[in-house]
């Protein structure tokens, strides 16, 4: 039954959609034929030609109205109407360039800036790290209380190497815990002179993150066996393509970082740029720290916070279990240092984990987002105002349309189509702006990166 229905109606729909001019012509012919016959009938009854014609038209009710009613019975009519409305709307917008520019700009600015800011915030602080099964990955930070002197690089909540080893070897809840030193500066030598930012990492780094190099290998335990002994490195796909022109035989060759030769053992998967908001181009074993950053030996400094910790939670273990298990280890270490009291901040890892950074960024971003949200609201109110002002000017036009047979709903649809067009153009432009503002904000963050660590560099944690 239903199929048969479609059999009859689909050709009709297609016809009224694609051959509407013909359908309209036939409608015209049909009604004219009717008028002629009716007129003849009235004439036969003894009316004058003129009178008969008038009566016939009267019987039909307005010809245009009747035509419109007939057109309205076509089920696909709204598609044509929409196209017509949009075309007409476009013409209206072109005729009022000032109004259009103002409205579109208001919407575009409002949308663009909001989306840009939110994208940055979302990417940094809300979205999980872009690694496989990221929901298992947690960041571990130490927050110190009490009167206790602590040295720190890159933020007061980072761990020392010995503390890292302690957590890694004594926990019962993680399938792996990695440590890395973020923001390690290095100069790429060998005629390719380039300033790089990378990280020294524990040798389970790529295994815990489950990011296996696309070529070569990640680090193995022996790479971290002895300080300064294993000059190997994994470089990012971006650096491989950029500085080494995608040399397919690069793995196994040597590159120079800070005047020391490193053997490239692997190339990170495309798109993987570490777990910091500022992309890393290379990774070296944590034991190479003294060589990469000559003049400072951080591996043996037990009271120096310099390593960020990320752990992969074993399946089935809850966050509470992780907190209490690692908390026990922290408590044991507290007993060795008089006056030290540590609480752990453990959360699902994002690009922006460190308490200090979050404490600054999130409220700031929220305020900014609220402010620009209000700006968007004002923009909308402005556009509404503009539309309202125009509506009062268009009274005449609307009255005219009503009188020649447009239904109210049809008029509303037409006005809605215009608004739709405005918001579409505004939204499209807003997306472009959003892209710009996003890259702009990102660049701002990255170029001010030297500010970021120094802003956060604290010698004392109280």
């Amino acid at each position: 039954m239903r199929h048969e229905h479609w059999l009859f109606t689909i050709p009709l729909r297609l016809r009224s959609l694609f051959r509407w001019a013909q359908a309209d012509q036939e409608l015209d012919d049909e009604l004219r034929d009717h008028l002629e016959r009716k007129t003849e009938e009235y004439v036969a009854q003894g009316m004058t030609q003129e009178e008969a014609h008038r009566r016939a038209r009267l019987d039909l009710g307005g010809i245009e109205q009747t035509k419109e009613k007939c057109r309205d019975t076509r089920k696909v009519n709204w598609i044509q109407d929409l196209i017509k409305d949009l075309r007409y709307g476009l013409r209206m917008l072109r005729q009022n360039p000032g109004f259009t520019a103002a409205a579109v700009l208001a919407i575009a600015l409002g949308v663009g800036i909001n989306v840009g800011i939110f994208s940055v915030l979302n990417g940094l602080a809300l979205r999980l790290l872009p690694v496989p099964r990221a929901e298992q990955v947690v960041s571990v930070e130490q927050i110190f209380h009490g009167k206790f002197l602590r040295n720190a690089v890159n933020g007061g909540s980072l761990s020392s190497y010995s503390e890292y080893l302690n957590y890694r070897d004594n926990d019962h809840v993680l399938s792996g815990l990695l440590a890395y030193e973020p923001f390690v500066h290095a100069t790429l030598g060998g005629g390719k002179m380039r300033e790089l930012l990378g990280a020294t990492t524990s040798c389970n780094y790529f295994d815990v993150l489950n990011e296996h190099p696309s070529q070569g290998r990640g680090f193995v335990a022996s790479d971290c066996a002895a300080p300064g002994e294993n000059p190997v490195a994994v470089i990012s796909d971006e650096l491989w393509r950029g500085a080494f022109a995608g040399d397919p035989s690069l793995v196994g060759k040597r590159i120079i970082l800070n005047r020391t030769e490193y053997t490239v053992v692997g190339i990170a998967p495309q798109g993987f740029q570490g777990t910091e908001p500022i992309p890393s181009s290379f990774w070296a074993p944590i034991t190479m720290q003294t060589v990469l950053e000559p003049g400072s030996d951080r591996l043996t400094a037990d009271n120096l916070g310099w390593l960020a910790l990320l752990g992969r939670v074993r399946p089935g273990v809850t966050m509470e279990q992780v907190r209490s298990d690692l908390g026990v280890i922290a408590g044991q270490m507290d007993q060795l240092h008089p006056g030290r009291k540590t609480s752990l901040a453990i959360r699902r890892a994002t690009f922006l984990d460190r308490q200090m950074e979050r404490e600054h960024l999130i409220p700031a971003a929220s305020v900014i987002l609220t402010v620009f949200g209000l700006v968007l609201l004002v923009a909308c109110a402005n556009v509404a105002n503009l539309l309202l002002a125009r509506a009062s000017v268009r009274h005449k036009e609307i009255a005219l349309r009503l009188s020649i047979g447009a239904s109210r709903w049809r008029l509303v649809r037409q006005l809605l189509a215009e608004s739709l067009l405005l918001s579409l153009i505004g939204g499209a432009l807003g997306s472009v702006l959003a892209f710009w503002s996003f890259t702009g904000i990102t660049r701002l963050v990255i170029t001010r990166r030297s500010l970021l660590p120094s802003m956060l560099r604290l010698t004392f944690a109280c």
């Binding site: 048969e4 229905h5 059999l7 009859f8 109606t9 009709l12 036939e26 409608l27 012919d29 049909e30 009604l31 034929d33 009717h34 016959r37 009716k38 019987d59 039909l60 009710g61 307005g62 109205q65 009747t66 009613k69 007939c70 309205d72 019975t73 076509r74 089920k75």
Partner: protein, 111 residues
């Protein structure tokens, strides 16, 4: 749409289907037939007739064809489809049930 006042909602469709079931005809003929048969009781203005015909066509119940009429004039002739015949049966059925029920009620004697 101006509704014919003394026509129960939906019955216009049924009447039109019935007329076209008897023989294919054009819109003008339908309007005349309506007037003749009902003796001016059912007043359907031409302005309501054509939208109604077009609606039936869009539902797939009737189909239209341009034919040259007796006087060499081209006109749009409507005829019933299979689907329309079934629809007519259904509506006539409903109408029969409804009207007999109503007349039973009306004919109740006062005690």
């Amino acid at each position: 749409m101006s509704k014919p006042s003394d026509l129960v909602q939906g019955t216009l469709d049924m009447l039109l289907l019935k007329f076209l079931a008897l023989e294919p005809m054009n819109g003008f003929a339908v309007s005349q037939r309506l007037k003749q048969v009902s003796g001016d009781v059912l007043q359907v203005s031409d302005g309501s007739l054509y939208p109604a015909l077009h609606k039936l066509e869009q539902e797939g119940w009737i189909t239209a064809e341009w034919k040259t009429s007796e006087y060499g004039r081209r006109a749009k002739y409507y005829s019933l489809t299979r689907l329309g015949r079934r629809q007519l049966e259904k509506e006539a059925d409903n109408w029969g049930r409804l009207s007999s029920a109503i007349s039973r009620v009306i004919k109740l004697k006062e005690a």
